[in-house]
């Protein structure tokens, strides 16, 4: 494949003005070694970060039985990471596609409340409620996406508006139907389909002597979402389009990429994932609280950025976003295991976000270094 090894016929006619001799390589370019290549992988920083954070909290662990390195410790941060990761991964895809979604946190809470209303108040079959909640999520995503694509307004503003609409609805709506209480609970968890729906979304698996409660089903969903996103991004046409619409929408349009459709589908991805989180959290606890999930949209964005997704779009990794979610999950649980005040979580998040943005910027410059 290199030109050095394949002699190519020179010019036969109309010799142009002096060009470099065929096959001459620019001596200023060093060959890209294995190290440089792996440095180019966007999720590398997040992987190293996750290892460092894991070891750090292992050392800081102040529980008497040193639970951090046991199944108990693993499960505690993994389930937290799952709730962040199911969102961070599609939010990461959307960011690679060049857009933001600030309505995600509010949507996770609102869809949980929707589940509580449909099952608890309207006595729907649980599976019908699950389907309706997913359809609702997809619809909201489509609306977000269409407004962004058609109005050409920044998605930051459009979804900020959506976020406030849902935040208001999830507080006001619950107060309305619930006579002044902000929590909607299922008083009779024996309705149609609830048992089987819970088994799929809100249950646990793999219980053993070391961890009698088992692992939360959410962890499986996290793995499924991450694996699907990795596959989508690296092995499908749609994945190629995601990079393209975020990297240069105009160029993408010129070569026939359906830019608007790609973006709308990405918005549908984040809001449908929010429905998944709402469904899981409701079926796990049989209750939903208004304001649940509020403010989490920033955790998702932080996870995606830590995972190597560029704020300006066009670059990033689904696996990286998942690793970013793991870092946040480990930090939140690790602080508890270390016996520190959990307020320091925010400081920690701020620091890793800053570090991640600096690293991303360096990567971006590196990728664009030779631009002329």
């Amino acid at each position: 494949m290199t030109e050095m090894s394949t002699p190519v016929a020179g010019l036969r006619a109309g010799s142009p003005p002096a060009g470099p001799p065929r096959g001459a390589r620019d001596e200023r370019l060093e060959p890209a070694g294995r190290l440089t290549r792996s440095l180019r992988r966007p999720e590398l920083g997040a992987l190293l970060g996750a290892v460092v954070v894991f070891v750090l909290f292992g050392v800081a662990d102040s529980t008497p039985q040193h639970l951090w390195f046991t199944q108990t410790g693993f499960e505690s941060w993994a389930q937290q990471a799952a709730f962040f990761g199911i969102m961070a991964v599609p939010v990461g895809l959307l960011m690679i596609g060049g857009e933001f979604d600030l309505s995600t946190g509010g949507m996770t809470g609102f869809t949980a409340i929707l589940m509580a209303l449909l099952i608890g108040q309207l006595h729907w079959d649980a599976w019908l409620a699950v389907i309706a909640t997913f359809a609702f999520g997809a619809l909201i995503g489509a609306l977000n996406g269409l407004v962004v694509v058609k109005s050409k307004l920044p998605s930051f503003i459009v979804t900020l508006a959506t976020y406030f609409v849902f935040r208001g609805m999830s507080i006001g709506g619950v107060l309305l139907v619930n006579h002044g209480s902000t929590e909607l609970s299922l008083t009779n968890p024996n309705g149609g389909g609830i048992g089987s729906a819970r088994a799929v979304f809100g249950s646990s698996f793999g219980s053993n002597a070391g961890l009698p409660t088992g692992y939360q089903t959410a962890i499986i969903w996290f793995v499924v979402v991450t694996a699907s996103a990795v596959w989508l991004l690296s092995r499908t046409r749609f994945g190629n389009w995601i990079y393209a619409v975020g990297g240069d929408a105009n160029a993408a349009r010129n070569v026939g990429v359906p830019v608007a459709r790609t973006k709308v589908l990405l918005f549908m991805g984040t809001s449908t994932a929010a429905s998944l989180v709402g469904v899981i959290s409701f079926l796990q606890t049989y209750s939903a609280v208004s304001e649940q999930g509020v403010g989490y949209e920033f955790y998702y964005i932080i996870a995606a950025v830590v995972g190597g997704c560029l704020l300006t779009g066009g670059y990033g990794s689904a696996l990286g976003a998942a690793l970013g979610a793991c870092i946040i999950g480990m930090a939140f649980q690790g602080v508890i295991y270390a016996g520190w005040d959990s307020s320091w979580n925010f400081t920690f998040l701020g620091v890793i976000l800053f570090l991640a943005v600096v690293v991303n910027m360096l990567i971006y410059r590196r990728a664009n270094r030779a631009r002329r």
Partner: protein
């Protein structure tokens, strides 16, 4: 392969092009030369189907055609490589190469982007054009301007271009890089592809061109075969014209400006 006869285009009262005729055959390079505002980009847009001419006709393989849009022109094998190249800098060479036309394998939900094929075809196509890309994984943003032009040309040829329209491919490049692009033009011609090479630089046009069309202020100063014109004549044709224009412009503007200033001085 392509012939235009007496095409004109008006934008309101501005006569952007009037009565332009040109031909390009398979395995030929027709250079369209002209200074800024000569009507080169209007001509490109007509040829690539962005808008139709107001007068005159376009013939492809001898048959008159009327393009409904760029897609129709592309379907006839007319491929335009614009200055911005339609490439995404942060994406790898092979991802860019097949962007929008990704090869797939499998079916139903398992239909997927055939990345192995895409990588292999990219390497083969680029090697076939003698383009030294160290690694098709490298982002397009790390390529030099000449390399990026070469990749865009290779891409257009791979996707069945029979006529390549190159919009100022050398204008933003240094001498060496421009040389690289000129080689690609010669290679495309040797593959039997018709090339329309738009440039304002007669030094770039003359070595690779078979025919030359010189535009000035929307009109054609003539179409010449290479045998009918020397490099010096071509340069003079362009330079004279540019100089005359500049001179006329100066004569128009300078005394007026001086006059106004003088008036103001006396008034003040």
């Amino acid at each position: 392969m392509l012939e235009v006869r007496g095409i004109s285009k008006y934008f309101g009262s501005v006569n952007a092009l009037s009565g332009i005729s040109a031909t390009v055959g398979a395995g030929q390079v027709t250079c369209v030369l002209g200074d800024n505002g000569a009507g080169k980009s209007t001509l490109i847009k007509i040829l690539s189907g962005v808008f139709p001419p107001d007068e005159g006709e376009i013939l492809v393989d001898g048959d008159p055609v009327r393009f409904g849009g760029p897609r129709e022109a592309r379907d006839l094998g007319i491929s335009t490589v614009y200055q911005d190249l339609a490439m995404v800098p942060l994406m790898s060479v092979w991802r860019n190469f097949f962007l929008g036309s990704e090869p797939t394998k499998g079916w139903g939900p398992w239909r997927r982007f055939d990345v192995e094929k895409a990588r292999e075809l990219t390497s083969r196509e680029l090697a076939g054009m003698g383009i030294a890309i160290r690694d098709p994984e490298q982002p397009v943003g790390t390529l030099s301007g000449g390399e990026r032009q070469a990749v865009a040309i290779a891409r257009a040829i791979h996707f069945g271009a029979r006529l390549l329209i190159l919009d100022e491919p050398t204008s933003a490049l240094g001498v060496k890089q421009a040389g690289v692009v000129l080689k690609r033009i010669v290679q495309a011609r040797e593959q039997g592809i018709a090339v329309i090479f738009i440039t304002h630089n007669p030094h770039h046009a003359y070595p690779v061109g078979d025919r030359f069309v010189v535009l000035s202020r929307g009109t054609s100063l003539g179409e010449f075969a290479k045998s009918e014109i020397t490099r010096e004549e071509l340069i003079r044709l362009m330079a004279d014209n540019a100089e005359l224009e500049a001179l006329a412009h100066e004569l128009d503007v300078v005394p007026a400006a001086l006059g106004v200033e003088a008036d103001e001085d006396t008034a003040g």
